[in-house]
């Protein structure tokens, strides 16, 4: 493997990690507030569809972004009503949202575009364009640093950089603001938050809606950044890989970035090579595909560091009377 191949793989690692990262941070907000969310997949899919459709109709990717985020937040609201207001089972609500999104994107897509559920290809301002960062061209000839800057760091769509920034913002909000402290408290011990006179319901709704917003960005990136248009079931299990990354990261923002980059790297390697030899033993691609899931099970089993979820996760809060 020469340097160029390595740089290309790293470049696509960053690209593939971005939707995982948004979805993972989305789950982080929700689960830190004590609302489990296995509906990341569905929200991402719905956002991808709406973003591509609205961008196609309006010709502007930014209006598409609003549409995608709105779709995801609507489903997040459904999840909130079911699991916070009506104290339903959060896992079941997530499963329902995944089916709803998988079905409705195709049903409505077929009706709008008559292309078997796909949207037409997006062109020009209807999709996100790659950005060349300043000095990328001039620095290109500097040994090592130049090519890394040019190939890996520069030349992505804006959402990739927003994703990286979101990690920092998430960390700051959760660990350096009063809101973040309360949000984490409501996921560990809602009674204490309630006793302090802060609304548990309000905090949880806010967290679920932030989750919807970030999940929306993940979907928007899928259909208008990573590719140019929506295809059936294009989230393809990414919502669950993001969930895996969240557990892998033990519900922490910086670790989430690393977990998503790791899973992105696995995806990039799998796209690039059909078969990989490790010390002469061929590794089948299917093993690479299953690796994120296997790693998550190993982490969950506590054989390599224990992942402890927020204590009140999954439990609806019932105020004492």
């Amino acid at each position: 493997m020469d340097l160029n191949t390595i740089l290309q793989i790293l470049d696509s690692t960053l690209r593939l990690a971005t939707p995982l990262l948004f979805a993972c941070l989305a789950g982080l907000f929700s689960e830190r507030a004590g609302v489990f969310d296995i509906g990341l997949e569905g929200k991402m899919l719905a956002a991808a569809f709406m973003a591509a459709s609205v961008a196609y109709f309006s010709g502007s990717v930014w209006i598409g972004l609003l549409g995608g985020v709105a779709a995801s937040m609507t489903l997040a609201l459904v999840h909130g009503v079911a699991s916070i207001t009506f104290r339903g089972n959060q896992l079941i609500s997530g499963v329902a949202i995944n089916f709803l999104a998988a079905g409705i994107t195709v049903v409505v897509g077929k009706d709008w575009f008559e292309m078997g559920g796909r949207t037409p290809a997006l062109e020009g301002p209807a999709r996100f364009q790659d950005i060349v960062l300043p000095f990328a061209g001039t620095l290109r000839d500097v040994p090592l640093i130049g090519p890394i800057y040019f190939e890996v760091i520069s030349g992505h769509t804006i959402l990739v950089y927003v994703g990286l920034l979101a990690v920092l913002v998430t960390w700051w909000v959760l660990f350096r603001t009063r809101f973040g402290l309360r949000l984490r408290a409501v996921g560990e011990n809602p009674e204490s938050v309630d006793t302090a006179g802060v609304s548990v319901v309000g905090l949880r709704y806010t967290a679920v809606l932030i989750c919807g917003f970030l999940c929306g960005l993940a979907g928007v990136f899928l259909s208008t950044g990573l590719t140019a248009g929506f295809t059936n079931n294009m989230s393809a299990g990414r919502g669950f890989i993001a969930l895996a990354a969240l557990i892998f990261a033990k519900w922490r923002p910086a670790y989430a970035l690393m977990a998503c980059l790791l899973f992105g790297l696995l995806g990039a390697l799998e796209n690039r090579f059909q078969n990989i030899d490790v010390f002469g033993i061929p590794i089948p691609t299917q093993f690479m595909q299953a690796l994120p899931y296997i790693l998550t099970v190993v982490i969950l089993a506590g054989f390599v560091g224990k992942a402890v979820p927020p204590r009140a996760g999954g439990e609806p809060y019932v105020k004492e009377r």
């Binding site: 339903g88 077929k110 969950l300």
Partner: protein
Amino acid sequence: MNKLPKWVDIALIPFINLVLALVVSGLVVLFIGESPFEALSIMVNGAVGSSYGWGYTLYYATNFIFTGLAVSVAFQARLFNIGGEGQALIGGLGVALTCLAVPWPHWSLALPFAILGGAAFGAAWAAIPAYLQAKRGSHIVITTIMFNYIAATLLVYLLVNVLKKKGSMAPETARFPEGAFLPSAYDMAGWIGLKFSKSAPLNITFFIALICCVLVYLLIWRTRLGYQIRAFGHSEPAARYAGIPPVRITMITMMISGALAGLMGINAVMGEAERLVIDSVQGAGFVGIAVALMGRSHPAGVLVAGLLFGMLYQGGGELEFEIPAVSRDMILVIQGLVILFTGALDNMIRMPVERLFLRLRKGAA
């Protein structure tokens, strides 16, 4: 005393939930500019209007009864087994390996062994998440989701690299020996001199599914083990105090659940495809969740809900055929709404209904 009459709990509330799900689905059909009533009549007609329709409806129902029972048994112990999909895939592998291992002389000999193969493989695939939950405290919902994906990739690997028929491009096993073909509804109708559609995939497995409903009922409500499972589901600390071993109950319950999901392979792999293909389950594992929720985790309820979802799947297929503008994926929308209303939004209906009955009772007293 504010408990609801039993019929309200097991019939009226699920019915209202189902109607709500159908109303919202109807709105979706209306949204894309088609008539919901026409769509409903096509679906019902397509599902039960001919022996061909029934043949498919009952075939799908057989799959859903197995996966629905699987989810229900786990629910009794308050374990949410979301891994029916993977367990059914691996169960299908067990069925296929049994069928291919021996040149079976007659189906009646192959069937018991295939049942053992499917159940054992399904149970084994459920045993790992169960062990991790019981011994290491790993959340069973997450591990079973992960095991669905691992099962799918494992099966692709095996079919592409190991089990593929020599000289064939398609990733599927060779056809099973003729002695392993199960009698279809057409054959069985012939035995008693009746006619049934020849092309429908309904086969003898339907009766095995019915037997499983009875066996699950007897297990849960008529045996010591069933009592332990229910007690464990009601309150783990209480069960522990009463000397019920939690690790053992978790393992046994999940393995029974996995075995039931694995039995779906008898219907789909042995009965219908007569070979193992990449995706023999086609989402039936997830439908099992909806079926178990609607059926209130009771075998009788699972039977009724399984039939309803069988109708939905067959009718939904016909729907796209008759009105091309309505996609087959409408089934997923309805399924999602049924899970949402019967599962997650149950309290939305339950609370007002409870209040209503309380007021009625006060008025009567």
